[in-house]
């Protein structure tokens, strides 16, 4: 299989798709201003080719902040579709996914589900994963900006679009990278949560804002920047899902991800991200001696952190060493049925 990445800093889709021939799947990463135009143009340029799209920055060797980026695959069998009404009942459209799985003869070994979601990600992922889990199929994706996504030339609000990509020449495997680790032995049980507004009311029965401030000795104003260094981690067995703080809401903390009553949370701190990235690369290279392509979704917060620390360019260079690396800067990352923040998830094609 082959991965194509084309981009245009000035937002020209023609320019971004220059050299793209006979793709079996296209993924569009556009800007809020040109999204609609790009979706239509892409459909016109490549009719009948399955496609999904969202608003967001893309990258390969450099980040396309406000233009357009296109990732396309050949040598694959693919299907793209949408689950609508994602805020209330994405399951209503689940048969589409089931039919697409049959259509591409998907298996966990060789097929990945890539999704772009407009919101209510946790519910969307739970719903999608009810189909993927029995097949041991992985999912990698992210949240797009502006509450709009596209599938097969049509724009949807309140939807999750997905693409099933079957590698006709080898395996696929999904990875998640967490550059944070637990800080001390802080462990909390969340309560008084508001799932719809992603709010944590209390941690171990104490107001969440006070707990965070007291431990880190930060002012209320500093909480939003402190999350770069100290996000929360939702413990799920041996795994940790990162949760970023969005804003202070009275005595509560609003996050970028749903938190539920009974969720066990840790306080995290930033680790040696350069070393962790190297470890991820080593793990991938150990699993795949021959890599055809890598598609990743990096959190916007990670992009900001790496840029602030003059690491983004080096990061892309290091990831580029894997051969054909491209991706999306997301507002939330998806890994199987997990909706996480401040993480990187990626799929590697053999």
């Amino acid at each position: 299989m082959k991965q194509f990445f084309g981009s245009s800093q000035r937002g020209s889709l023609q320019e971004a798709t220059q050299g793209l021939r006979d793709p079996q799947l296209i993924m569009l990463m556009s800007n809020p201003r040109q999204f609609e135009q790009h979706v239509q143009e892409l459909e016109r340029l490549f009719p009948q080719v399955p496609s999904i799209g969202c608003i967001g920055m893309s990258y390969s060797t450099q980040v396309i902040e406000s233009g357009v980026g296109v990732v396309a695959y050949s040598g694959v069998t693919a299907a793209a579709n949408v689950l609508e009404q994602v805020s209330v009942m994405p399951v209503k459209y689940i048969q589409r996914l089931q039919q697409d799985v049959k259509k591409v003869s998907a298996s966990g070994q060789n097929t990945i589900c890539i999704d772009f979601c407009s919101g209510n990600d946790a519910c969307a992922l739970t719903t999608i994963y009810t189909v993927l889990k029995p097949l041991r199929m992985s999912l990698v994706g992210g949240t797009g900006d502006g509450g709009r996504v596209s599938a097969n030339g049509r724009i949807y609000e309140d939807a999750v679009v997905y693409a099933l990509v079957k590698n006709n020449q080898g395996r696929v495997k999904a990875y998640k990278e967490n550059i944070y680790h637990q800080m001390g032995s802080y462990r909390f049980i969340a309560s008084r949560t508001d799932r719809a507004r992603y709010v944590i009311g209390a941690l171990n029965g104490q107001p969440a804002r006070d707990v965070y401030q007291k431990i880190l000795n930060v002012s209320e104003q500093e909480i939003l920047t402190q999350t770069f260094k100290n996000p929360f981690g939702k413990v799920n067995g041996n795994d940790t899902c990162i949760i970023s703080i969005k804003e202070v809401n009275g005595n509560a903390l609003a996050c970028y991800r749903q938190v539920n009553d009974s969720d066990v949370l840790n306080l995290l701190e930033l680790g040696d991200y350069r070393a962790i990235v190297k470890d991820t690369l080593s793990a991938i290279q150990a699993d795949f001696p021959k890599i055809s392509a890598v598609f990743s979704v990096n959190c916007l917060f990670r992009y900001k952190l790496f840029t602030q620390n003059n690491y983004m360019r080096d990061y892309l260079k290091e990831m580029g060493a894997l051969n054909g690396h491209a991706g999306l800067v997301g507002y939330g990352e998806h890994f199987n049925n997990q909706f996480v923040n401040q993480s990187m998830s990626c799929v590697v094609f053999e």
């Binding site: 009942m89 399951v91 209503k92 946790a122 519910c123 067995g237 066990v264």
Partner: protein, 307 residues
């Protein structure tokens, strides 16, 4: 109009038919909420168990440290006891060295005593010789007295003989003079011999005093030697006490090791419990993720039914 009424009636009928499913979904949601609350309580309890157990582990560690301190104290006792043994050995060695010197002193004293005895013997012989000399002197004095008498007799006879006896008288006078000189000499020698005898007597007394002092000294050396033996015996006795101390310390250490091994076992079991608590806790966290999934799925039913 009729069609619309029919459609509304159909919708109402459908809603009525689907109401039980909605009811089930709502009930499931309530149960799920309750389950979540129970899970929160369970996790909090588990957290408390973990925290309390951490306390128990901490206390066990502190206790074990105390036991280790105790063990170290035993080692210190043994070290002190060993040091005592070293001191005892040093005492024994010193005493043995001193005893060896005392032995040498005893030998020398015996030699001196023997010399003194020989000197005493010599003095006795000397005394006898003096007596012999005194006898001889007495005999010489007696002879000189007889000679003097003879000389006087000769002088008288010479006087009777007149002129012819003059020469004889001179000889008799001379003989008398010689006898007097001999007596004077003997008197001198006598006084000298007496002086020598007196001094020899004094020397003999001194020698006797020295012999007595030497005998006392030899006796003291013997007593010292016996004292040294007693010191060694006492040191050996202390060594036996030290061995007893070591034995008691070893027994205590062995008992302490048993306690240690007991603690090691307890610790292993504690770790096992901690492992289970952590496992239960981890399972609890996976449950919370499943609750989210369940909620995500159930929450879709009511809007679908309403639609």
């Amino acid at each position: 109009m009729l069609f619309q009424r029919k459609k509304a009636k159909q919708a109402a009928s459908q809603e009525k038919d689907l109401y039980p499913i909605l009811h089930v979904a709502n009930s499931l949601k309530e149960y799920q909420k309750e389950l979540v609350q129970k899970e929160v309580d369970s996790l909090l309890e588990l957290g408390m168990v973990g925290k309390t157990f951490d306390g128990v582990l901490g206390e066990a560690v502190v206790f074990q440290t105390k036991l280790e301190d105790f063990g170290e104290q035993f080692s210190s006792i043994n070290q002190v006891s060993d040091a005592f043994s070293t001191v005892k050995t040093q005492i024994s060695e010193s005493v043995l060295q001193a005893q060896s010197k005392v032995g040498e002193l005893q030998g020398v004293s015996r030699q001196v005593e023997s010399h003194f005895n020989e000197m005493g013997l010599t003095f006795s012989e000397l005394q006898e010789d003096f007596n012999k000399i005194k006898n001889c002197m007495s005999k010489i004095t007696s002879i000189a007295d007889q000679t003097n008498i003879l000389a006087i007799n000769a002088s008288i006879e010479a006087a009777r003989a007149g002129e012819q006896g003059k020469g004889f008288s001179v000889v008799a006078i001379e003989v008398k003079k010689l006898a007097d000189q001999i007596k004077a000499l003997i008197s001198e020698v006598d006084s000298d011999v007496q002086a020598v005898e007196e001094r020899t007597g004094l020397l003999s007394e001194k020698i006797q005093t020295s012999q007595q002092a030497l005998a006392q000294s030899v006796s003291d050396v013997q007593t010292t030697s016996e004292k040294f033996d007693q010191i060694i015996e006492a040191a050996e006795g202390a060594s036996a006490v030290q061995n007893e101390i070591s034995k008691v310390v070893d027994n205590s250490k062995s008992a302490l090791n048993t306690v240690y091994s007991f603690f090691d076992k307890i610790r292993d079991q504690y770790q096992e419990v901690v492992k289970h608590i952590n496992r239960a806790s981890a399972l609890g966290t996976t449950k919370s993720a499943m609750f989210e999934d369940v909620d995500n799925m159930i929450s879709q039913i009511p809007p679908m039914l309403k639609e």
